[in-house]
Each structure stands twice: as C-alpha cells, then as structure tokens.
Amino acid sequence: MAAPVEFPDAVAVVRSYLRATLVERGVDVPVVTRVPASRPPRFVRIERVGGSRLDRVTDRPRLDVTCWGPDEGAVADLTAVVRALVFAIPGWRGAVAYDVADVGGPITLPDPVSGQERSSFAVEVSLRGTALAAP
C-alpha cells in the first residue's frame, strides 16, 4: 500500500499567511472564511471553490478571494495588496507552496446586502502534502 499523504487546509494556510503579511505591512484588516453578519468596513474573505490533486504530493485548491471596503478606492487598494501578497506565498515558511496561478482577475461586485464595495479574484495554489501521521 502506498503511504497516505494528507494536504494542508488551503484556506487556513492562505488565511494565516495573508493575515500575518497584511499586519506586517500595517494593513490591519480581518481575514475570514465566512462573511460576518455585521460586516467590518474593510475585510478579506477566502473560500475554497474547487481544485483537485495534481499528483501524489501536490494539491491544487482553487481559492476565491474577496475584499470589502467602504469605497471603490479603498477596495482597489486593498485588492492590490492582497493580490500581490497571494502571488508571493511560494517561499513562505508557514507552508510549502510551489506556485500560484491566476484563474480570474479582480472583478468588481458590490455587496447587495451591505451596499459596500467589494472585489473578487480567484487563484489556484499548489500546496505540498505530508505523510499522514501514524495512528
């Protein structure tokens, strides 16, 4: 039997990475996986929307990243920083990410519930798995 390989939770990995690197840059915004009922003025939501295993040790999740902000300018600024950081994840010590592929560039999609401006983009991140721990 081949050794079982488990893959990291891609949303958790990218969320941790983004939160840490945003704070490093002085951009202290929440990075969440679900849209909160009471929306902050600025925040980022990461959601897995598919993707598949590339080979025995590589997972390639597709992630949808959405940035909310109080106005178009704030959203554009936040999206630009978040997008740049997401593409820079290979090499981060928190996980082994091989590469990031663009799936769909930023698209403006105002939030119909809160009326806030928001922008979304999608990427695929190749993440290395690890041997499943013995029971």
Binding site: V49, S52, D64, G104, L109
Partner: protein, 89 residues
C-alpha cells in the same frame, strides 16, 4: 558531450491545435463545465457553450448564467464547475 536543443515546430503545433479532434476535445470539456455549472448554480443554471476553431487554435467558452442578473451567482457557479473540464478526455 554536445548540448541538446529543443526547437518547437510552431507550424505543426498550430495545426495540431486546430484539428477536428482538438475541436471535439475542447467541445467535450466546455460542455462538461457548462453542465457542472448548471448543476451547482444557485439560480436557474442556464449556460450556453460557444466553441470555434480560430486562426491559431480551437477555443471554447461557457456563457451564463442567463437565469439570473446577479453576476456573483454566475461567477460562483463557473468557478466551481472548472474541475469538470479536467475529468473529461
């Protein structure tokens, strides 16, 4: 030892990308994505497939969701349906 060098035959590649077999493959993959998008759509799931052989390659597009005016609903369905293309040979 002499160094190996790979020279792509661009004319042959372009011909290959425009063959009827390639058109058929692109059409199968595009239709698979459209069917998957319709299945996961939060609206009515009305998607259209457009496949054509252009000057350089056969290409396919999935367009919709015509059942909703909400671009977010269409986008979510299409993003979630992309994996269907990988499952088709």
């Amino acid at each position: 030892m002499a160094r190996s060098r790979i020279v792509p035959n661009r004319q042959a590649i372009a011909s290959f990308l425009r063959t009827p077999q390639m058109h058929a493959l692109i059409e199968r993959k595009t239709r698979a994505v459209a069917e998957a998008a319709a299945a996961v759509s939060e609206a009515g799931g009305q998607f259209r497939v457009d496949v054509e052989t252009g000057d350089r390659r056969a290409r396919g597009a999935v367009i919709g969701d015509y059942s909703t005016h909400d671009p977010e609903v269409s986008r979510r369905a299409l993003l979630r349906a992309l994996d269907a293309a990988r499952a088709v040979d």
